[in-house]
Symmetry: C2
Subunit: 342 residues, 2 copies
Amino acid sequence: MSNKKVSIYDIADYLGIASSTVSRALNDHARISEKTKEEVRRVAKVLGFEKNHLATGLITNQSLTIGVVVPAVNRNFFASAITGIEKIASENGYTVLICQSHDLYDREVELFDTLIANRVDGIIVSLAINTEQFDHFRKARDTGIPLVFFDRVCDEIEDTFKIVVKDFEGAYLGTSHLAEQGFKRIAHIAGYQSQKIFRDRLAGYKQALLDANLPYDEKLVKYCQLTTEDGTGIAEELLQHPPGPDAFFCANNLTAISAMAYALNHHIKVPQEMGIVGFSEETVSSLLKPSVTSVRQPCEEMGTLAAQKLLEEINQEPAGQLDFKEIALSTELIVRESSTPH
Amino acid sequence: MSNKKVSIYDIADYLGIASSTVSRALNDHARISEKTKEEVRRVAKVLGFEKNHLATGLITNQSLTIGVVVPAVNRNFFASAITGIEKIASENGYTVLICQSHDLYDREVELFDTLIANRVDGIIVSLAINTEQFDHFRKARDTGIPLVFFDRVCDEIEDTFKIVVKDFEGAYLGTSHLAEQGFKRIAHIAGYQSQKIFRDRLAGYKQALLDANLPYDEKLVKYCQLTTEDGTGIAEELLQHPPGPDAFFCANNLTAISAMAYALNHHIKVPQEMGIVGFSEETVSSLLKPSVTSVRQPCEEMGTLAAQKLLEEINQEPAGQLDFKEIALSTELIVRESSTPH
DNA sequence: TTGTAAGCGTTATCAG
DNA sequence: CTGATAACGCTTACAA
């Protein structure tokens, strides 16, 4: 195991030229002869040279790396968004550092420190569910590291791109659909209201009830972390004592799936006796029996957009005034079996 | 936006001491007075100092970063394994660079180059489904970067830890179970045989048939990439023309779920008319109706083990002879509704 | 206990 | 078109 790394000096020595020439040749500099370039590349290959990005980053003050911090990678939404981010990043020569906060504020802060220490050129983040302090974001910004929020954004930090979907609209669509299908007592499995997206979804739900002339019953709204277990627990709680709800509008899809599973396991027919609509798709949404109606988010597009905006900010020429703003993409209701009894 | 980063020199100047003292203080060096350490830490905080890992890595020749290359992060198995890896890594002060090959050989090679260029201290990898050349692994090894394979391992590279499960055993368990439940024509949705794990699963399936006195019918074995679409397509193909199979043993869980969905959508009762067993769990396996029997792999444990072995190799003192080998963990059959008609 | 100075592998700035 | 040489921010002998 020849632990020795080969450097541009080794190539320079080998060819009897200067290291700076090697560097330029390797970077395809304009004023280097084709012949030299070819020789350098050949020798580089022979010697097994691999450029050291650490050294490059140290001098150029850019690592060509961007950090991504999400709650968890095993949710369809985040996995797809990451795929979008990776696409744009790699097209532009950037590497992506993917990190999971596991929905823990402390871990998120830690990750930010690590990313800053690793001198990433920018960070794309979707907040942990209990993040209510924002100094780590400010620190990154003050260190000159561009930031883009997506999905779970942070309103307290301004002058930053925020990529979201029209949560109000999506929730309104999903809830209205249930009402149209004849469901009368529509429960809402909601996210904690510290996150704007969950406030918006609740608001959309309420507005839809109002417009459908259905009463708003706060006992039918339950706030949680939106885990699988939460879905099961809330379904159990609400369905135990009649009159329970006859439908669930869920703020994510994990809870939609687990609430539905609870119902089915307790011999409640979906959709005949119980309607289900989720927010955001999982891979299995269409495969479940019954298949799950859900509000589709343009996951991958959110990722590509976030990455584009981040690169825009990273590469802005002077103190070029960027038009920072929140960009809200449209949602789409995918109607399936779980909400259509007729 | 004060794009200027603050360095140890700024702290040194501020306090009128030497930069080396600052460096030592920050690293909690033994021979620095407590008072100095405290002052340095205080000023570092005030000035907003963040150590530059690039510079540190350049000189210490280690980045305290390990790379992970997996086919995709949105599968339960990989997400869990990554969680295990992250746990061990962060306990030991390492950052994890997660990369997706998207099951493309070319992308995998690319990622290896990037990781090497970023001077990761080691790489944990599960092969892309069509990886059949191994020079990128050899290059990493020759560059002195320790490698650990897990799940989809590479037999051609020796002297490397390989973390797998007992695939033969798992497939044997799953298939035998179907046979015991009275299923007679058990089909196998198999992975491409270029991967050892899929050869082993096929072998376990065959042996189980043999031991159950069931004939082996090669028409009931279908090779594919194991995507959701593959599961649906194969179910359709096999079920269209009688006599079709009366059970599916699937080499992963996505195909188990999608094959089951196909059956249900075509009014084939699971498990009464069709048994289903998958390999490796998805989050929804237990939530589906019927719930899906599957061979459970110790996903997270595979991750922790892989990370431990990697760190062992990274930190081995002299050319300390490590006992490289393949470590095969046990599987467990989780019996649920999809395979138990009685 | 602290300071001085060399060096990690690149790129950038001058010259030539 | 190419070559010296300084610099990036940190660690680490070696000196004091």
